[in-house]
Amino acid sequence: MATLTCRQLSKTYPGGHRAVEALDLTLEAGELMVIVGPSGCGKSTLLRMVAGLEAISGGQLIIGETVANALEPAERGIAMVFQNYALYPHMSVFDNMAYALKLQRRPRAEIERRVHEAATLLGIDALLERRPRQLSGGQRQRVAMGRAIVREPTVFLFDEPLSNLDAALRVQMRLEIRRLQQRLGASMLYVTHDQVEAMTLADRLVVMRDGRIEQIGTPMALFEKPISCFVARFIGSPAMNLIPVKRARDGAHLCAGLQLSGDPGAATLGLRPEHLRLDPQGELAGTVEMIEPLGVDALVHCRLPEHHEPLTARLPVTALAASGIRQQGAIRLAVDGPLHLFDDQDRRLEHAARLTPLSSLFAV
C-alpha cells in the first residue's frame, strides 16, 4: 500500500531553473526510502515539496489517500526532522514535543501521554524539563525525532538529520533510526548525501541527479547493477574504478593495456575495488602509487599503463605484507568479480565480458 505518491512532480524556480523534473515515486507503507545524490541534485527540494515548504510547480503529490498539493504543511500528516534539528530554543523539551498537539487543541491528558510515550521510546524522559541549549548533540537529535513521533504522522521526512553529529554518534543514531522505524512500522523519506548512511539505512534507495531519478532499487541492487557510471561512482566506498575503453584500429577493444572481449559497444569498464585481488599471474600490471591502511584492509592506489587515474584496490593488509608490496613497487592484480560495462552515454550494458592480456591474444 502506498503512503506517498509523486506523479510527474516538478519544481521550476522563477528564473527558469528546474530543480525537480517530472518525478515519479512511490513510498510503500512501512518503507524507509533514502534519497541520495550530490548537492544541487534536487533531493532537498523534493523533500521540501512533500513537506509543503516549497510550492509545487507541476504534477501531483498524494499523501495517504488525498492530493496534498494545496494543503498547508501542518495538514499533510507529515513530520520532519531538520538537519540542524530546529528545536525551539525558548521552549522546554516537553513543550517542543507538545507544540503541534497544543495547536491541534488536543486534551491535556492526551498530550502528556503521547509526549511521555515518545520520550520513553527515545530514552529522553529525564530531559523533558530542559531547554535545547542544555542538551548534547545526540540528545537534541533525539528530541527532534521525538517531536516528529509525537505527531503520529503518515510519513516521516528526514533532511540530512545526522550530518551535524560526530562520526561515532552518527553510526549509533543510524542504527537507532532503523530500529525505531521497524518498531513503529513507519514510512520514512530520508535525504542524505552520505552514501554509507544511504546504503545501511535504506529499504530502497533513490539516486538523484539534476532533478531526475537516476536509479531506484534496493541498496544491493544498486551496488551490483548500477545503471550508469554516475550511480556506479556514487554507490560503494571506495568508489568503483572506471576505466575508458579504446577502440584499436583492428577493431579490438583495448582497456588499460588489456584486451576487452565480449562486448562491442562498451566505452567504459567498471571494476569495484573489492573485486580485485593480489595475484602474481593477474592480468592487471601496474605501479603502486600510495597505500592507505584502514586496519584489516588497505586501499592500494596503482597506476596502470595508458590510464591517467589511479586504480584503487581494497586488499587485506596481511596479503600485502606477505607479497612484499611497497609504495612505488610493482603490483599485479586479478579481477575477482563482475565487470561492469557502460556505453558511450554512460548507460549500463548487460553483456558478459572478459579481460585478457594483449599477449595472450596473440597466443590464441
Binding site: A51, G52, L53, E72, P73, A74, E75, I78, A79, M80, F82, Q83, N84, Y85, A86, L87, Y88, P89, H90, Y99, A100, L103, Q104, R147, R151
Partner: protein, 281 residues
C-alpha cells in the same frame, strides 16, 4: 593585550575617576542647589553640599502649581511619562508589525513599502516641523497626547532594527513551526516575540529616553500647560521672571526630569548599550 603595570593602572583609574567627577559635577551641583532655600542662593557661589530645604523645594514643585505655568510638577512628569511610553510602545508596536510583514511575507510592492518606511530613517521631525504642525492642527490634534506622540513615531529606526533581528532568526525554526501548524499570528506570538525579547527591551530603553527628552515638537504641540512635559517646563522656571531665577526650584525640577531616564539607563545598562549600537548601525 594588557600588561600589568601598577603605575599605569593607577594612572588609568585616576583619569577615569576624574572623568566620572567632571561628568557628574553639573548634576551634583544641581542636586545640592535644589536642597537650599531661595535665600541661600541669593548671593555667593553655588553650594557644594546639601542644604536643609530639599523636601520643601520638591514638595512645593510637586504639590503646587508652578508660577507662570499653572500646573504642578506632578502633572508635568505625568505628561512626560505618557508621551515617553506612548512613543516607546507605539513605535515598537507599529514597527514590530511592519517588520514582521516585510520579513515573513511576500507580497507585491514589498520592496517599495520597505523603502517608503526606510526613507524616514534620517529625516527627523525638525526638518518638516512647520508643515507637520499644520497637518496635526488640521486633524485637531494640537494639545492632545495623540498629537504629541504620532509625528514622533513616524520613523523607521525601530522597523529597521527589528527587520535585522527577524532576519537573523533561523529559517528552520520558521519551517518547523509551520509544520507544527503555526499560522502567522501564532508564529508572531509564540516565536518572534519571545525570541526578540532582548531586542525589544533594548529598543524600549532607547525609545523611552528619546520620547522623554523630546523638546521642539512638544513645545509646539502642547500649547496649554495641561499637556506640557517636564523637559519643556524648565525654560519657564529659569526665564519667566525678570528677577533672579528661582534656581532652587529650577534645579529641583531638572533633577526630577532626569531621574526617570537615568534610572532606566542604569537599570537596563546591558540593553541600553545593545540598543544604541544596534539602532544606529
Amino acid at each position: 593585550m594588557r600588561y600589568h603595570r601598577p603605575h599605569l593602572d593607577r594612572l588609568t583609574h585616576l583619569l577615569l575617576l576624574l572623568g566620572v567627577i567632571v561628568f557628574g559635577l553639573p548634576l551634583w551641583l544641581a542636586l545640592t542647589a535644589s536642597t537650599h532655600s531661595a535665600g541661600d542662593l541669593q548671593s555667593g557661589i553655588a553650594p557644594l553640599w546639601f542644604g536643609s530645604e530639599g523636601l520643601a523645594n520638591y514638595w512645593q514643585l510637586l504639590s503646587q502649581p508652578i508660577a507662570g505655568l499653572g500646573v504642578s510638577a506632578l502633572r508635568l512628569l505625568g505628561n512626560s511619562l505618557v508621551m515617553a511610553l506612548g512613543i516607546a510602545i507605539g513605535k515598537i508596536a507599529i514597527s514590530l508589525l511592519a517588520a514582521y510583514a516585510i520579513v515573513f511575507f511576500r507580497f507585491p510592492c514589498r520592496t517599495l513599502c520597505f523603502w517608503l518606511i526606510f526613507i524616514t530613517l534620517m529625516l527627523p521631525v525638525e526638518v518638516r516641523i512647520v508643515p507637520t504642525y499644520g497637518v496635526v492642527a488640521r486633524f485637531g490634534l494640537i494639545d492632545t497626547y495623540a498629537g504629541m506622540i504620532l509625528p514622533l513615531i513616524a520613523s523607521a529606526t525601530a522597523t529597521f532594527l527589528l527587520r535585522q533581528s527577524f532576519m537573523s532568526l533561523p529559517q528552520e525554526l520558521f519551517e518547523a513551526a509551520r509544520l507544527d501548524g503555526a499560522g502567522p499570528l501564532r508564529f508572531l506570538k509564540d516565536f518572534v516575540l519571545p525570541l526578540s525579547k532582548t531586542n525589544l527591551a533594548a529598543l524600549f530603553v532607547i525609545m523611552f529616553i528619546y520620547g522623554w527628552n523630546q523638546y521642539l515638537w512638544p513645545l509646539l504641540a502642547a500649547n496649554s500647560p495641561e499637556h506640557a512635559t517636564a523637559v519643556i517646563s524648565l525654560k519657564n522656571l529659569v526665564q519667566s521672571t525678570d528677577t533672579l531665577p528661582p534656581w532652587q526650584l529650577a534645579t529641583a525640577m531638572a533633577v526630577m526630569t532626569v531621574l526617570p531616564p537615568v534610572a532606566v539607563i542604569i537599570a537596563m545598562q546591558r540593553f541600553f548599550v545593545r540598543g544604541l549600537t544596534d539602532t544606529e548601525k
